[in-house]
Symmetry: C2
Amino acid sequence: MMESRVPETYTAPVENYLKVIYEIERASGAAATTDIAQRLDIAPASVSGMVRRLADQGLLEHERYRGVKLTEEGRRVALRTIRRHRVIESYLTRALGYPWDLVHDEAERLEHAASDELVDRMAAAIGEPTVDPHGAPIPTREGEIDEQSYIALTDLEPGEHGRVVRVSDDDAARLRYLGELGLRPGAAVVLVDRAPYGGPVTVRVGVAKKRVECHIGPTLAADVLVERAE
Amino acid sequence: MMESRVPETYTAPVENYLKVIYEIERASGAAATTDIAQRLDIAPASVSGMVRRLADQGLLEHERYRGVKLTEEGRRVALRTIRRHRVIESYLTRALGYPWDLVHDEAERLEHAASDELVDRMAAAIGEPTVDPHGAPIPTREGEIDEQSYIALTDLEPGEHGRVVRVSDDDAARLRYLGELGLRPGAAVVLVDRAPYGGPVTVRVGVAKKRVECHIGPTLAADVLVERAE
DNA sequence: AAATTAATTTAGGTAAGACGAAATATTCAC
DNA sequence: GTGAATATTTCGTCTTACCTAAATTAATTT
């Protein structure tokens, strides 16, 4: 049961566990085995096993049947990985002209291979961005992150104005679709109508003459985060 | 003994085997087990095992006790990996200001994670370079490579002029040293003297007033490739 | 033909992670 | 509070993908 020494380099699966645990913990206070399993598309039994190993390495604390919480070190590693991912995504779009629906998969692989040196140089080269192309905040080199809670598009009242601040980044096809509609971070929106019973929401996107009206399903709309405007 | 299907993605060790087999084969016609083992710092027995697996996958042909040769497919994979490595090295120096002694290690990791798409975008962004920062030729997207045989610095006759075309890239400290001396690809040199019995060579590096004279060991000098000039 | 060198086979080990099934704990509904 | 449903863990195994030492066999040298 002895604690192993801390390596400064972790395997890709370990980094991925820590990433999703960080996200779940932030959203719900503690990460349950099943949630982790579902997000990683892995059997719950496998998660139990890995969780034990991560706990042995001092990356998280585990209360049986109560979920896990990252330790200081675990949080550090998670945020470093998230920073890598988001800096890489930003760099690919801004410096290499990648379309925003492709950067996620590429970053998903590179984040485990890129050195801190490289990530820092990338960040510097594009002016130390604070959010990635999907509006997600980028942790600093020191591991600070500006996590804000935004409301979903579906939370706007009919007639209310808003501005898109963030969209979820993990599905390329959905992203492409959102892009076609103009629903990217920064876009001005007006919620026109919400159909009841799980119906679509009607939104006007864009400013002035170039406004476009569209109808999108509630699931998709819930993944578009906005802030209220004027 | 059935041939497995060909995956389009290979593990890092496999790509590394193919890379060094390509290099050895180019230099000596066929790659012997011991040579591969030595270059990869691995026991010969392990090489025998891996060679069998690679042969089963159709990446190389193996005549027992006679060494291996890459198949068309093996060569394709090797050259793709080499292209990745060298494009990444070039990109890191030219676009991100990496010092030339650090790019090798970074590229060594990234080459196994970067997609063709990314590598092609990097190449395009810096104007489709044909050689990497150490003067090594970069294979094209189609797998063609312009392999030229150059002479070593030690092969110049005293008094002869030359131009550095390539240096070996795998040792950061040596590269830093060569850099300090100005011995980078493109540098003009004059061989002043070769001391006998494994002694140092004396070289004048640079042009006109800025010439510097230096003495370097024969091992190092043998890794500096040049072409004769004027 | 013996000695040397090179390569291969054998048998086994490791690391890292995954899984299904069974057992156990917790929570929920009433 | 009890039983059902759900969540979690443990157990015993498996896989992949590599690596190794020691012993054996083949090729080469002289």
